[in-house]
């Protein structure tokens, strides 16, 4: 089995402030981390490797410093890492990103499962995973919290608003992973020592045979028109006092509203 995990390095959102004039993120001095949902994707791949054997390749598109995130992934137990980095990749929206990742994954080849986080905590679009599946013409499932492989089929459970759904997919396939897959493990000492020494190849646009017009800003139809803080959701009321009384008040209120 060969598993590919797509990782994104993101600013730690707790530390991010918004420039009140431009409405853009102020990234200076903010620590970079692996997108937390991608850590769940990596954990899913590590679990799959423990159960079914195989090899994990982690890829990330980003600036040279994204190498750090890939080294961290090695410390968790990934076998190989590839950084996709090229000036022409910069300014990519989800369409251009999924194109770049798809080109790289085609070059890696012979994969069985691609794991993505359900979304990144900076853009929050949750689009790259499904777009990538489309580009590679793969069956896919989003919001997956449980994985099994049986008779060469993938059996997954995915979160829905009102329950969960069990799906059977043929391999190869792409999955986007949610928190319920289980808390990420702690890196191992051997993993950390390996991460320190490992050579991480950097693939450019040329290496992945990418068309310039589909990359980065020029390949991105998305235009950011305006960034604003969402308006407050209206009035709120906080009940204080004894729990029984609060529950009673809340009940009466709901009864009023719902009729």
């Amino acid at each position: 089995m060969k598993y590919i995990v797509c990782l994104k390095q993101v600013p730690e959102t707790e530390g991010v402030r918004i420039n009140p004039e431009t409405g853009t993120l102020m990234r200076e001095g903010v620590k970079s981390i692996i997108n937390p949902y991608d850590l769940y994707a990596l954990e899913a791949a590590l679990k799959a490797k423990e159960h079914y054997g195989g090899q994990i390749v982690v890829i990330s598109m980003g600036p040279p410093q994204a190498e750090e995130a890939l080294r961290e992934a090695i410390s968790y137990g990934a076998d190989e890492a590839i950084l996709l980095s090229d000036r022409t990749f910069a300014g990519a929206d989800t369409l251009a990103t999924s194109y770049t990742l798809a080109q790289a994954i085609k070059k890696i080849g012979n994969y069985d499962i691609i794991f993505c986080g359900k979304q990144a905590i900076d853009g929050d679009t949750a689009q790259v995973g499904p777009e990538l599946a489309q580009r590679l013409n793969l069956p896919y499932a989003t919001y997956v919290h449980k994985i099994g492989i049986k008779d060469n089929f993938l059996l997954v459970e995915r979160n829905l608003d009102d329950g969960f759904q069990t799906l059977q997919l043929s391999l190869p396939a792409l999955l986007t992973i949610v928190k319920e897959i289980g808390e990420p493990r702690v890196p191992s000492i051997r993993g950390k020592m390996r991460a320190k020494k490992v050579q991480i190849p950097v693939w450019t646009a040329q290496d992945i045979d990418a068309k310039a017009e589909k990359l980065g800003l020029s390949g991105s139809p998305t235009r950011v028109v305006k960034i604003f803080s969402p308006p407050s959701r209206g009035e709120k009321e906080i009940f204080t006092g004894k729990v029984d009384e609060c529950v009673k008040k809340l009940y009466d209120k709901l009864e009023n509203v719902l009729g």
């Binding site: 493990r185 702690v186 191992s188 000492i189 051997r190 950390k192 020592m193 320190k196």
Partner: protein, 385 residues
């Protein structure tokens, strides 16, 4: 204080700290309350390579020494002394094999212990053999290609949870301590079972129980070293393990200091944070000072052990004695800083105080440590004349 650590030592410390923060602290109160063995946490530690730190690379370990092992034990104990005890006890059970095992025994058992796939335990204490280890009554009688063990070991950490046990038993009753030998016994050996599981005051996430041998037949190849070497093996094992108790005490005391300072900064009485009162500040200052002294001694002795000196019994005893007395005092004082809150289970400090007590008792009571130190002093000064 910042101790200069190599990059690898720093990694070991970081991995152990993350396990303590992310996997142990959120669960420690429940494990304590339910007296539950931390199987999942130990698995996590195994996956992170912590069980192999001081086992040589040729036997599947990382090939580091006492110091690196203590860095890990300290951080795990910062999270929970019960989990740290379960972890350190596997190392204790491995030392006799590591120090006195033949090549076959090392090849068979050490890789399983290093990977954490199997836990080890050490069995010396009996109902009539505590501080006086010479009082052991468990026997091992040679019978053809086997030894047959009979007797009961008491208060054994990891009893029933471990797969590999190193046991001290008498092969020659007439010779007293010189008639003791060390054996490897495996869970599942015929005639080997587990008796009473103890209910304890502290370190309740660790399991303590009886090992029962009833005509337990083991192949003669399980003898460690030679017949009659049992006590030498036991004493040497304890020499190696005692600095681990020191590290455990340091980690536990650090956790108590962290809680006490955090509380004293946010707790307001008489219109101010209580850390501003000299009476509280001085307690914290004493805790921090004693803690650093114990840490310095622990690190220094571990590093000395890693130079492979012929004899370090005195220093191993000093670390165990000093650090565990420190931890008992420090956790008691830290609880005092929290006042009534500290006595309640809503805060972790009462658990820390309960956990600290055993450190003055197990792996040789602190009175025995003083005996060891005094006897060696007597010998050293005798020679100098």
């Amino acid at each position: 204080m910042i101790y200069p650590l190599t990059e690898e030592q720093q990694m070991i410390k970081e991995v152990a700290r993350r396990i303590a923060e992310e996997k142990i602290v959120p669960q420690r109160a429940e494990l304590d309350e339910k007296e539950e063995f931390p199987r999942e946490i130990l698995k996590e530690m195994a996956r992170s390579d912590l069980f192999g730190i001081s086992i040589p690379e040729e036997y599947g370990g990382l090939g580091f020494g006492s110091f690196e092992n203590c860095l890990a034990v300290e951080q795990i104990a910062w999270g929970c002394a019960g989990v740290a005890t379960s972890f350190a006890a596997s190392g204790l059970g491995a030392y006799p094999i590591l120090l006195f095992g033949n090549e076959d025994q090392k090849q068979t058992y050490l890789p399983q212990i290093a990977s954490g796939e199997k836990l080890a335990a050490f069995g010396l204490t009996e109902a009539n053999a505590g501080s006086d280890a010479g009082g052991i009554q468990t026997t091992a009688v040679k019978d053809g290609d086997s030894y047959i063990l009979n007797g009961t070991k008491q208060w054994i950490t990891n009893a029933g949870e471990a797969d590999i046990y190193t046991i001290i038993a008498l092969t020659d009753k007439k010779r007293g301590p010189r008639g003791a030998s060390a054996f490897i016994v495996e869970k599942g050996d015929p005639g080997f079972s587990f008796g009473k599981k103890e209910k304890k005051m502290g370190i309740r996430a660790s399991t303590t129980g009886e090992l029962v041998f009833e005509d337990c037949r083991i192949p003669k190849e399980r003898l460690l070293g030679k017949e009659g070497m049992g006590f030498i093996i036991a004493l040497r094992t304890l020499d190696y393990a005692r600095p681990g108790v020191g590290a455990l005490a340091v980690g536990l005391a650090q956790a108590a200091l962290d809680e006490a300072v955090k509380f004293a900064k946010q707790r307001k009485q008489f219109g101010q944070a209580i850390i501003g009162f000299q009476a509280v500040g001085h307690i914290l200052a004493d805790i921090a000072t004693q803690l650093e002294a114990a840490r310095a001694l622990t690190y220094a002795v571990c590093k000395y052990i890693d130079t492979k000196p012929r004899d370090f019994s005195k220093y191993a005893a000093m670390v165990k004695l000093f650090a565990s007395d420190m931890a008992m005092k420090v956790t008691t004082d830290a609880l005092q800083v929290l006042g009534g809150h500290g006595y309640m289970k809503d805060y972790p400090v009462e658990k820390m105080m309960r956990d600290a007590k055993i450190l003055q008792i197990y792996e040789g009571t602190n009175q025995i440590q003083r005996n060891v130190i005094a006897q060696i002093l007597n010998k050293e000064y005798g020679k100098a004349k």
